[in-house]
Each structure stands twice: as structure tokens, then as C-alpha cells.
């Protein structure tokens, strides 16, 4: 329906002015909040590229007067960054791939198989989703401690090191939330496909991998990405189970926090604020690169699954 039909000229003008004012107002609001989000990122990069003299000078510079990568070189010397990256990728890889396998089988069992106690087990799982992780952490800490998987010192024998990695991986493999999430996708697959597969003589597990997994591909990719982001962000558990003096087992978050804590100078001529920012940038950038490569998947995935980071 045409709007103009109901308006005389004056009303139309008024309407147009009103629209423009709202637009200006909306964009101003968006720009101010976008700046609020962007400035910390900008300040991180800008500070990391400044010389120490500039960082501690009285009049603050919004743009670096003199660009230098010295802080980045210093951070690579101060922190075992490659070890931290490798550990995080290793822990993330094993956590994610074991999670995916476990979740696919569990979601399959709950969506397709018929067995006694299915509803009971499933309701128990749903109930535990309500319970905050802090409730389990205490006992998990005791369990890995009893197994000798905790705070392995430098130069420990290989089986102890593997134990320490296992302590960082195994507690996160069985994921009720992801099982629930994938089960939702599996349940949308029409029953006819299953019956057709049965007629063709496909076994249950073959049907799972030949039909269900390919159909649920985008959900599985979402779970993979979210699980990797989770490991990259993990701080509490790694800092509990690894030794703060054994840098060979640091992940990015707790390593970064170990390197830049009270022992270093934050003001005066020996200030390392620029190094602190270079360290933060080096931990932040890999994730941002992955984000820009997989932007659509990540944003759609988060809005679909509703997972809080």
C-alpha cells in the first residue's frame, strides 16, 4: 500500500524529517557504542607499538609517535609463547575431537536408539545442566590430585606430563550441553530416511555416519568452533592443575597471567606496559584471525546455540 495516498504534502515532509532524525539518532548511538567496544582493542595495539619512553611520558599520545616492534620481541623472550600456543592447540585439539566423538554417539543414542531408561538418563543429564561448574571443580581437583596429574614439575617423566595434559582434557570431554544441542538437530532428520536406510540394509551406526552426521554437519562445526574458543579462553582450571613455575605446561591464558603479574614493574622507567599489551595482542590476534575466517559460522552458531562464552 502506498503511504503517500494518505498524507498531504506537509505531513509527508514532517514524516520524512522524523525519519531522518531517528536515523541520525540511531547511528550516533551505534557509533558511540562501537567506539566503546573498539577502543580497548585499539589501545592494546597502539600501546604495544610505542616505545617505553612514550608510554611513560606525561602527555599521552593517542597515535604512536614512533612505531616499534621491540615490545613484541621482548615478549617472545619473556614468555614461552610458542609453547603456550602449542599447548593450547594440543589441549584444544584433543578436548574438541574427543568431545565431538562422544557427543555424536550420545546424541545418536538419545535421538534414535530405543532402550530402557532412556528418558530417565536424559532427564538426569538435563538436571545436571542447572548445576554450576564450581560444584564439580572441587572434587575434580581432588580426583586429578589423587591420580598424580596435577602441578607436574619441570623435567618430570613423560607419563606424569601426559597425566597433566589428561587433567586438562578429560573433565571437559563429556559435554551434556553439546549432546543436547546435537540431539535437537538429529531429531529434525525425518524418520523416512531411517526407514529407507533400514530397507537398504544399512546398520544403525552406518546410518549414523553416512546419513545423520553429514546432515548435521553445520551443528558439528559449530560445536567444534565453540569448543576451541572455550579452550583458548580457559583460565581457571588450567591455572589450578598446572604448576605456575613449570612454563612447559602453560596454556595461553594462565601463561599470560603468570608472566605479567606483580613481579614486574608497571610504572617508572622500567615499565613494561607496552610489553603487557604486546602479550595481550599476541594472545588475542590468533583467535581474531580465526573469527574473521569463519565469521558467519561463528556468529550463526552462537545465536543458534545460545552459548555464553
Amino acid at each position: 500500500m502506498d503511504r503517500e495516498l494518505y498524507f498531504d504534502e506537509q505531513q509527508l515532509k514532517k514524516f520524512k524529517a522524523y525519519t531522518i532524525v531517528t536515523k541520525i539518532f540511531t547511528y550516533t548511538f551505534l557509533i558511540i557504542l562501537a567506539l566503546f567496544i573498539i577502543i580497548p582493542f585499539y589501545w592494546m595495539i597502539a600501546t604495544s607499538l610505542k616505545t617505553t619512553a612514550e608510554v611513560i611520558s606525561q602527555n599521552i599520545s593517542f597515535f604512536p609517535r614512533e612505531l616499534t616492534f621491540a615490545s613484541y620481541a621482548a615478549v617472545f623472550e619473556r614468555a614461552p609463547l610458542f609453547t603456550m600456543y602449542m599447548n593450547t592447540i594440543l589441549v584444544g585439539f584433543f578436548t574438541t575431537s574427543l568431545t565431538i566423538v562422544s557427543v555424536i554417539f550420545a546424541a545418536f543414542a538419545f535421538s534414535r536408539l530405543k532402550f530402557k531408561g532412556r528418558e530417565v538418563i536424559f532427564s538426569i543429564l538435563l538436571m545436571t545442566m542447572m548445576i554450576p561448574g564450581e560444584v564439580f571443580v572441587i572434587t575434580n581437583y581432588m580426583t586429578v590430585n589423587t591420580l598424580g596429574w596435577i602441578r607436574v614439575p619441570e623435567g618430570a617423566p613423560l607419563h606424569e606430563i601426559i597425566g597433566n595434559y589428561a587433567a586438562m582434557i578429560l573433565p571437559f570431554v563429556g559435554s551434556i550441553f553439546y549432546t543436547f544441542f546435537l540431539r535437537q538437530t538429529f531429531r529434525q532428520i525425518p524418520n523416512e530416511l531411517y526407514l529407507a536406510a533400514k530397507v537398504d540394509g544399512l546398520g544403525d551406526f552406518k546410518y549414523l555416519f553416512k546419513v545423520m552426521v553429514p546432515i548435521a554437519k553445520s551443528t558439528i562445526i559449530t560445536i567444534t568452533i565453540l569448543s576451541m574458543i572455550g579452550t583458548w579462553n580457559a583460565y581457571i582450571w588450567p591455572s589450578l592443575v598446572t604448576s605456575s613455575s613449570n612454563s612447559a605446561l602453560w596454556l595461553v591464558s594462565n601463561g599470560l597471567n603468570e608472566v605479567f603479574r606483580s613481579t614486574i614493574e608497571l610504572s617508572g622507567p622500567n615499565s613494561v606496559l607496552n610489553q603487557q599489551m604486546a602479550g595481550s595482542a599476541l594472545v588475542t590476534l590468533p583467535l581474531l584471525v580465526v573469527f574473521f575466517l569463519l565469521k558467519d559460522y561463528i556468529m550463526k552458531g552462537v545465536s543458534r546455540s545460545g552459548i555464553k562464552g
Binding site: 562501537a34 577502543i39 554417539f105 560444584v135 571443580v137 572434587t139 570431554v173 591464558s253 610504572s267 552462537v302
Partner: protein, 301 residues
């Protein structure tokens, strides 16, 4: 053991490993936490304790540090959560109403979701630095100490809230925006035929139809805010178990922070930690129930 119907053995193969892991790292820990919370003077290494009772709850509820933690967490929850939700609702509506640059803004607002809490905490630590910080210089404040030894309670709390709001917007915006986009356009067309103004449209169409999403975001935000911990550690740049990890005199210790402190404390009072985690669970449960109860009247599914 469970008696399986026809797919029994397949289910055992498919579920067995997962249930085993969940039993060790989820089910048993929940039961054990409840048991530990009631064991008095529980010593982890020897497994000894002095009878069953409410001793740990008495200890924790009369510990000024825990009461501080409860106070700090509640202030965080009841100020920053409503602020973030209102802000993200306005942003989602604004994003939904523009065409140009929507993708750009959406990406910008999503960025905090894909960053590392510790790394960006260190950035906020520098932005609010007393001598060389951007915040003091932009607002012309002379050497105001926000996070160092000279800070005050409300200054430190202010920075913590700014950081949690900065960090939390992304998730809420994206959930609310996807909710907005799923609202049927016919409602808006009908409203414009009836000549309803923007305020009315927002109050009578957008908010009611978005209410399930708002409820979901509110509940997850409340739960998330009750579990604040890593951001505090990140802002003050100290490790857990160190003095000053929660600010000078541990002024910003949170409930979760208190629980973890007990894992580092001498004698490792795990029973007290377990009691703390049970209290946290009860608080979260109550808040969720209250929100569901309120929503019964207000949420339109």
C-alpha cells in the same frame, strides 16, 4: 544395571564411554560436593572428618570474607546485569532498524566474544592505569588510581562493571538480534496500518514477542554474573592464591573467588569450599525460579 530393550547393546556402546566420563567428572563430584559440605573438619588426604552437620555452613556464613564476597557479587549482579540487558536490547533494536553498515556494526559488537578474558583484562588494566592510562587522560583526571593500591571500593567496582559490560554485550546482542529477526513482519505492517507510533510498537509488539529471548538472556546473565571470577583476576593482574588477586585487601573477592581461595588455603578446607559451591547453586536456583515465576505472567511464547 539397566535392562535394555531392543537397542540395548548399541546404546551401551554409544553411551558407555560418555556416561563413564560424566560419572567420574560430573555425577560423582556433585554427590561428593554435597557430602563434603556436611562433613565437619574434612581432611582430603586422609579422608577423615568429625561427624556430619552444618558446621561448614556456619563457618562460611559467619566468615566476613564470604559475606564480602556475597555483597560484591550481588552489587555486580543487580547493577551490571540490568544495565547490560537494557543496553543490548537498545543496540539490537538499533541494529535491526538500520540497513547500511549493519554487518559492520554487528561484527564490531561481536568482537569481545572472541577474545581472551585475561588478555583484555590486562588491556583494561592499562586503560585505567593511574599514571599512563587513557581513561584518566581523556577525562582529565589527575592520577586517579583505579586498580592499584590507592584505589577505592567503588572505583575498582566501576572498572569491573565496565569490563563485564564490555565483555557481555556481544552474546546478548546476537541472541536478541536473532530473536528480532524472527518476528513476523506482518505484526509491524498491521501496526503501521493502525497508525501506531514507534513507542507503542516497541512496547506492544517488539518487547512481548521478544520476551522469551529476553528471559533467556536475563537468566544466563544472572548466572554468569554470579560466577564472576576470571575478570577480577585479569583486572588486577595477579594469580589466584596471591595477595592482591582480588584488589587491595581482596576488596573485590567474589563468591567463586572465595571457593577457589579455599583450594589454595593451608589445610585445604574443601568442606568449606563445597559448602560455598552449594550456596552458589542454591542462589542460582532461586534466582532462576523467581525469574520463571515472574515470566509466567509476562512472557509470551
Amino acid at each position: 544395571m539397566l535392562e535394555f530393550k531392543k537397542d540395548g547393546w548399541k546404546a551401551a556402546i554409544a553411551l558407555g564411554p560418555t556416561l563413564l566420563l560424566l560419572s567420574v567428572f560430573t555425577f560423582y563430584p556433585i554427590i561428593n560436593a554435597v557430602l563434603m559440605a556436611f562433613k565437619q573438619d574434612y581432611v582430603f588426604l586422609s579422608g577423615t572428618y568429625n561427624g556430619i552437620g552444618f558446621g561448614n555452613f556456619v563457618t562460611i556464613l559467619s566468615d566476613p570474607k564470604f559475606l564480602d564476597a556475597l555483597k560484591n557479587t550481588s552489587i555486580m549482579v543487580f547493577i551490571s546485569v540490568p544495565l547490560t540487558i537494557i543496553l543490548s536490547l537498545l543496540l539490537a533494536v538499533a541494529l535491526n532498524s538500520v540497513k547500511k553498515l549493519r554487518g559492520f556494526f554487528q561484527t564490531v559488537f561481536f568482537l569481545p566474544y572472541v577474545t581472551n578474558t585475561i588478555a583484555l583484562g590486562l588491556v583494561f588494566n592499562v586503560v585505567f592505569h593511574k599514571d599512563y592510562g587513557l581513561f584518566n587522560s581523556v577525562f582529565g583526571l589527575e592520577l586517579v588510581d583505579w586498580l592499584g593500591s590507592g584505589t577505592t571500593y567503588w572505583r575498582a567496582m566501576f572498572v569491573l562493571m565496565v569490563y563485564t559490560i564490555w565483555n557481555g554485550l556481544a552474546f546478548k546482542i546476537i541472541v536478541l538480534l536473532s530473536g528480532l529477526q524472527s518476528i513476523d513482519k506482518q505484526y509491524y505492517q498491521a501496526a503501521s496500518v493502525d497508525g501506531a507510533n514507534r513507542k507503542r510498537v516497541f512496547g506492544k509488539i517488539t518487547v512481548p514477542l521478544l520476551s522469551p529471548m529476553i528471559l533467556y538472556v536475563t537468566i544466563t546473565s544472572f548466572i554468569g554474573a554470579f560466577k564472576v571470577y576470571t575478570s577480577v583476576i585479569a583486572l588486577f593482574g595477579k594469580g589466584a592464591g596471591q595477595t592482591g588477586a582480588y584488589g587491595p585487601d581482596n576488596m573485590l573477592i567474589t563468591v567463586v573467588g572465595y571457593i577457589y581461595e579455599k583450594l589454595w588455603a593451608s589445610g585445604t578446607p574443601f568442606g568449606v569450599a563445597a559448602a560455598g559451591s552449594i550456596i552458589l547453586f542454591i542462589i542460582i536456583l532461586l534466582i532462576t525460579l523467581v525469574q520463571f515465576w515472574i515470566s509466567k505472567k509476562r512472557v509470551h511464547y
